[in-house]
Symmetry: none
Subunit: 225 residues, 2 copies
Amino acid sequence: MTRVLVVDDDPRLQRTLTIALRAHGNEVVTAADGRTAVQSVLEDAPDVVILDLGLPDLDGTEVLRRIRAASVVPVIVLSARHESDDKIEALDLGADDYVTKPFGVEELLARVRAAVRRGGDLGRHLGPVVTDHFVLDFAERRATVEGEDVRLTPTEWRVLEALCREPGHLVQQQDLLRAVWGPSYGRESNYLRVYANQLRRKLEPDPANPRHLVTEPGLGYRFNP
Amino acid sequence: MTRVLVVDDDPRLQRTLTIALRAHGNEVVTAADGRTAVQSVLEDAPDVVILDLGLPDLDGTEVLRRIRAASVVPVIVLSARHESDDKIEALDLGADDYVTKPFGVEELLARVRAAVRRGGDLGRHLGPVVTDHFVLDFAERRATVEGEDVRLTPTEWRVLEALCREPGHLVQQQDLLRAVWGPSYGRESNYLRVYANQLRRKLEPDPANPRHLVTEPGLGYRFNP
DNA sequence: CGGGCCCGTCAAGAACGCGTCAAGAGCCAT
DNA sequence: ATGGCTCTTGACGCGTTCTTGACGGGCCCG
């Protein structure tokens, strides 16, 4: 069963969507403001989020940014405005789809199905990753190096997760950047260098000669189990 | 059917191109400014973009940057200026080809076909190439000689890839140079000699008597599996 | 036999990419 | 407000890679 988080401050629209989604076999949770929405993303782990921009407490793009900081769940943005700026900005920030009000319920349902299909394996949690030196439990956000618990920051987790989804395979810089920082971060920057460094210091037995987090110069990084 | 996005603020030129492209069996969508163009790239997923620099709303390079942030679609840049600076900058930002106005429609059509063809099979990864002596995995950027991992530099990979796309066939010097160093490197230079040398040292059992990376004097090189 | 052409080889300087560090901004909880 | 944590961004040094010029040898042709 697909779990959908509906974020909207208009109770009528919220009701309409809830009923329509339930009628099509979805589970629905709701939030009326941005902070609650982010919290719900973390706690309820929805399969897809329908997000109305223009919430009472936070700017729409800010909500989106925070959701993206917390999860890679597919987000469908609703907006009354027709400005293409908004749309581009939203897509830049990592929205997966964009629907302008007014819209037909059928259309939205179709987009929900599409988003879930696309996001299918991104949303799923990775099983624990085990090497001879450390253990990573993504579901629990727990890292253990030589039996000792190690703290990783949210961004560090996301970089690791993107790498561990393709164990032993090259992940290109561009793909890595987009997976972690969103679609608009296609260009090179310090990000990867800094975080590869941090992660190696925290995880590698000998950070200067990495065995698990390997650089492929000019291309990207590779995680070796 | 090839879908072409034409970005130009001159309605006459837009019409001309649209008609010509449709007459040759392409589907055409248009945009008259940069923001619309980026939006169209996201929504319409064109197979190739024809982009006029000098749009009303955004700097040409900025449009290109945004398109590149959103997609790897091939982009052909149009420009009235003859400045080579522009050209270099555009190619740096990821344009695939560059046409200076005025230009013939036939020429542009040819470039569209070329861009689509390149975009089609350059994007596609080569399967692993296996010989009795070494294995090349282009997707993973992994080379193994007699079971031992061997490091190849980015340029070495590009040269190899260009050769391996035509296994057993002659690849002319000019084509090889262009494939690796870009369209403006049509002239002879040391490049190929140096890199053929490097590759033979790294891959051939007897570098002095190459069996796989063969020179065709006066013409080019051939890769024998 | 001599000369030209083309290729292979080598080496050195420039350019590039990466790792590293640190300062500053932003956010959160106290 | 204050302090701690994280993210972002710029700067710098170092090792690697690219580029370029020079030189020598084989081959063909006159």
